[in-house]
Symmetry: none
Subunit: 194 residues, 4 copies
DNA sequence: GATGAATGAGGCTTCATTCAT
DNA sequence: AATGAATGAAGCCTCATTCAT
């Protein structure tokens, strides 16, 4: 029991150390030896938990994505209207990025790297279904604009990236409710059906 | 004269080879030796033109950005209304990305915030200023929504990036005028003042 | 314990191999790969023990110097008169050079002023102080000529270097007690006060 | 005529540039490209005058040695006594080193480098005969100590290096006639027969 | 499970030298 | 004679990975 929890500890420490360094320096500028050191773990231990560096990166990506998805969708199902659902999703996402910039930046970095192509399509789009469902529902109801689901997904996804990007550059607005509200309204108006 | 053009040739060949490989494999997975080989040039020749690999990457980025900006803004000044200006900018940008996917993907890879760069501050302002000016003009006229210029810049930038991303995944729509028109209208409605 | 001694072994083997090759071919004509090969060690192992080639060279120099100093001064403190002290120092030094030509030549190669080094100022003083002390004592006693300590240090240092150089070229005299004795007397007469 | 003198110029410029850089940085840290640049000459031109870098180094050594010998022995033949001959030789040598530190340091560096072994024995000892003759004459006359010629050559050679070394470190004595005189007397006493 | 010394392939870069002009 | 672009061998060093303990 005790040794098991210790083991978990080490795996976790490696993952967290890796994320910290990846965000700071990128994948290739972060040797596995540096990760081991940051995690206060022996060099070989890293390869005990992850067969290769690539596996470590992929694991980190999947776990981060999963944690993101859990946070982003928390409570969304309980909301009654599409707008309320979308609003919650939007706020959850923005807050997640602001609270865990490391995670956000790691995912952004990973998405633009050659590693992405190594994940199966299934793994990549594991959570996309949820979003597509919401969009489809909104279109059926007549609440959302009638444009192709996938395109809308791209558009709203990138738009929210834009907001987050802006808030990273202007931290003074991160806790400004009026401001966030305005940004959301802009977002909403761009996708709602008039 | 003749020798000069030959020299240009080699430099050019190296730059193009580098872009090709960087897009396929990423910066770090592309050894300089591979670039030289792809350019049919001796290993050392690469370092004759670019002191380091980093200098090669930066040069490539700057030249690509510059060429992008030239293409994106072509003819925009001659348009009379804001909407026409924005439309031309939008189409120019989309066409640039579709015609030169290598360039687009290279820039996307270079910086995670793809239209935000590591250029000299001066160079950054030079390009961004054009966009900010357009947004400010639109707001003054009452044509564009009254939200902070920088935020709007981020939003429309990322939104167009979403469109392009979508078109890469769905090449069948790349030459579909109706489709592009619809995408632009969506774009426009999201930023215009009602 | 056992593994520790093995580790020492490899480090030692690298140092000795390096010295052997440096003496034969000079620093720059000796690639690290050749050192590794000569030490029967993998290329990377060398860099496990010494971060850079330069660090290897410096370490080698410091260790050689230290070992030289220990040998050269062995027993000197126990001698009663200045002349006996100087004689022992002289013989120790000459024997050291003849027994370990590699070490001598390495040091000679390392710095053109062979007994003047690039060590920490502290390390330099540590060694030189011993000599200066001896010279000062001899001058106070009236045994040594009254010329500036530093100058005398240079002169006797280089003179002994000359003897060694000669003995390398004429190995037949290396074990000739009469000859060595004569050389020492020449040395001594040149510094003693008449 | 004119073009010829220009050519001489270039060869000279290369040699001087090389010496300047060699003294500052050593042979191996001085690329031929740097020499060409320092000499304001095209890269390939250097190889017009010297087939290889090695040939350049050797040429430089020979010319420097030759120039040294000319200066060191100037007027020596006209002196009547051995002591006066030796004194002039001593002063000439010290002055040469102080006036042309570049030359002195270059020769010192070369002597301790692997390049030395590449010169024929004949080239090395070209000028040694002069010194040996002087020593032999002194011994025959009964002016100099009766120790082997070659050994004495080594001893006095290295001793003078010691003086020069000291004067480099203490420039304040370089023009102090009393001081120089004292140093010479020390030198002389160490080799003269009492 | 944990360690860290050891490995060696491979990356970036330097540089003496060549050669077409 | 002079140039300097071009070459490619070779050097130093990094780093993912293995393996004996």
């Amino acid at each position: 029991m005790i040794s098991q929890s210790k083991i978990e500890d080490k795996r976790e420490r490696i993952l967290r150390a890796a994320r910290r360094l990846f965000v700071k320096q990128g994948f290739h500028s972060t040797p596995t030896s540096a990760i081991a050191k940051e995690a206060s773990v022996a060099n070989g231990t890293l390869f005990h938990y992850f067969k290769t560096k690539e596996e470590l990166i992929n694991t980190l990506y999947k776990e981060t994505k999963k944690s993101f998805f859990t946070i982003a969708t928390a409570g969304v199902k309980n909301e009654k209207t599409i707008k309320r659902k979308v609003r919650l999703l939007w706020y959850n996402t923005v807050k997640w990025a602001l609270n865990r910039p490391q995670d956000f930046l790691f995912i952004q970095q990973f998405s633009n790297s050659p590693f992405l192509s190594q994940l199966t399509q299934e793994e990549i789009s594991e959570h996309i279904g949820f979003y597509y469902g919401l969009i489809d529902q909104g279109k059926e109801e007549g609440t959302l604009k009638d444009i192709p689901t996938e395109l809308m997904y791209q558009l709203i996804t990138f738009q929210i990236y834009g907001v987050i990007n802006y808030l990273f550059q202007h931290p003074e607005f991160q806790n400004n409710a009026t401001y966030l509200s305005m940004a959301f309204e802009f977002y909403w108006e761009s996708i709602m059906k008039k």
